[in-house]
């Protein structure tokens, strides 16, 4: 601090330089500061977003500029059983995986909120699945789900003798769907748990003391203090989780690539298969655009979650 006060008069002496003065002119400085971030976002986010919507109304393919075809792509998608299949699985995948992640993640957060030795080490370990590249852990899951050498089958068949044959995890539609959901839940638990743990730590202990004095049981304390106090952060984390689960790509692409017989396609993998691998950019963009209504719904959910948060905090908090 003292260094700054000492050196600044000297710096003020050199002020007359016009460049220095230009950079001290506030509107110019604001524009210069915002330019890199807004420029990057405009060129690589906003423009492609608009372009994507435009592409969805054309019949562009790789290497050929398309012409405007109106709603043809969407009309085609509505008659395409594969698209309906992907919509169904995307919704199902998001619903089941989000429920699993939040049930288990909340539980883990409550467990981590207790006092025990090596707590910070444990917290660090718990985040690992979230840190490691998803595709690489997905490969590990692929190997765990191997039809012949699955370690889970080995445990169930040879060690525990609960089953007589190996489980065919990825060979038929429903087991494959649930195997992917399990992998997604595994990857999502740490994020949910650590975010919710941060929320839990902001709840004032005096609330629990007051409730205990009134004779509230453990369940009642959870139901009437923990849960309502966690609602705002739950709403935000859940919105993020829903958006990124619904648009998930990596897990499915790495483990099943949409198979067997296209039963595990999510909208994102279907869009990739049609748009990039198949070259039908227009149709792929239409599939991607068809995700937007779901995402808008999730964002509105977040907005109302935030609104409730303001109301809960009252005027004492800013």
């Amino acid at each position: 601090m003292s260094v700054t006060t000492l050196s600044s008069p000297a710096l003020a002496q050199r002020q007359p330089n016009w460049i220095v003065r230009l950079f001290d002119y506030k509107p110019f400085l604001i524009a210069m500061c915002l330019a890199p971030a807004l420029g990057l976002l405009a060129v690589f986010l906003t423009y492609p977003l608009g372009l994507g919507v435009w592409l969805a109304f054309t019949d562009t393919t790789i290497g050929r500029r398309g012409i405007f075809v109106g709603l043809e792509n969407f009309q085609y998608l509505l008659t395409d059983p594969l698209w309906w299949n992907a919509v169904f699985y995307s919704v199902f995948y998001t619903a089941v995986a989000t429920f699993g992640k939040f049930a288990l993640g909340f539980w883990l957060a409550l467990l981590l909120n207790n006092h025990f030795p090596f707590k910070s080490v444990l917290r660090a370990i718990v985040l690992l699945p979230w840190i490691v590249p998803t595709v690489l852990s997905a490969l590990a899951f692929w190997w765990i789900y191997d039809p012949q050498f699955s370690i889970i089958s080995y445990l169930l068949v040879d060690v525990l003798h609960w089953k007589s044959t190996n489980i065919d995890f990825l060979g038929s539609p429903w087991p494959a769907r649930f195997s992917l959901i399990a992998a997604n839940i595994w990857r999502g638990i740490p994020f949910v748990a650590i975010s919710l743990l941060a929320g839990l730590q902001t709840i004032s202990p005096s609330l629990y003391e007051a409730a205990m004095l009134d004779g509230a049981s453990g369940w009642q304390r959870f139901r009437y203090i923990t849960f309502p106090m966690m609602m705002p952060i739950l709403a935000i984390v859940m919105t993020f989780s829903i958006i990124f689960t619904f648009t998930d790509f990596q897990l499915v692409y790495a483990i099943t690539r949409g198979g067997p017989v296209n039963s595990t396609h999510l909208l994102a993998t279907l869009a990739f298969q049609r748009g990039i691998a198949g070259g039908e950019l227009g149709e792929g963009a239409a599939i991607a655009v068809s995700m937007i209504p779901f995402l808008v719904f999730a964002t509105l959910f977040s907005y109302f979650g935030l609104a409730r948060r303001k109301w809960q905090q009252g005027e004492a908090n800013d």
């Binding site: 604001i30 915002l34 590990a140 994020f191 975010s195 648009t247």
Partner: protein
Amino acid sequence: MTDTVAQGTAVAKAAPDTMAWDSGLRRLMMIYLPLGCFVLILLFPFYWMAVTSFKPNAELMNYRDHNPFWISSPTLAHIKHLLFNTAYPHWLKTTMLVAIGSTTLSLIASTLAAYAIERLRFRGSPYVGLGIYLAYLVPPSILFIPLATVVVQFGLFDSPLALILVYPTFLVPFCTWLLIGYFKSIPYELEECALVDGATRLQILRRITLPLAVPGLISAGIFSFTLSWNEFIYALAFIQSGANKTVPVAILTELVTGDVYQWGALMAGSLLGSLPVAIFYSLFVDYYVSSLTGAVKE
């Protein structure tokens, strides 16, 4: 009168009840056992990855004679194959280049943006902040197809530079929000003092705000590094030639060949590809946790 007595007994009952909850066997069953299960399940895939990558092929495919959970004769063959018979070192280098490049770019852009939004306060600055936040909610899955055409238009297809330029679209919103939070925590009085002393705005940013925001910058930096190391869908869509691929994409597209999967090499590749982020992570755990939770709480 009776009410108070009833309440008194209820409290008396509640107290031993909580004592029992906190002690002994119950604590073991309710906390340590589920916690143990969680840790076991969350870590098992990594253990399995590590075990597989050091197992010789004979052991890998024979559960009858060898306990699959252990390695009887560990081997480095898979890792040697990976390092000398494939372009793995090159993929690592590309990934590192892309991660460092995009992290630097987005750190610079988002520091300036966060400073403008939080400290230069102009009309509409909250809306710019909100706009950047909304950009974070646009998932890559709906952008990659039009972005692929944009990348081709710019002549960047199949070049790591495309990834360096594109990754900031999801890094900048995140970093900006993180840094706005950090800048908020720095007292404005410090800047006012400097202004009174005749410092220019840029001098204030460089000499006062930035040094105080170093923890925030580290958080944003390591987070961006991890996110760009892990990114998959853009790297898959924009890079075609084998040599320019990033590790996650290359393992999936170059190492998975034919009908017989080289599980040993695949797992060794996954392990090596995860190690840099895992090491990075272990060095900065607290920053990760604070940035993760900070971004959510913001």
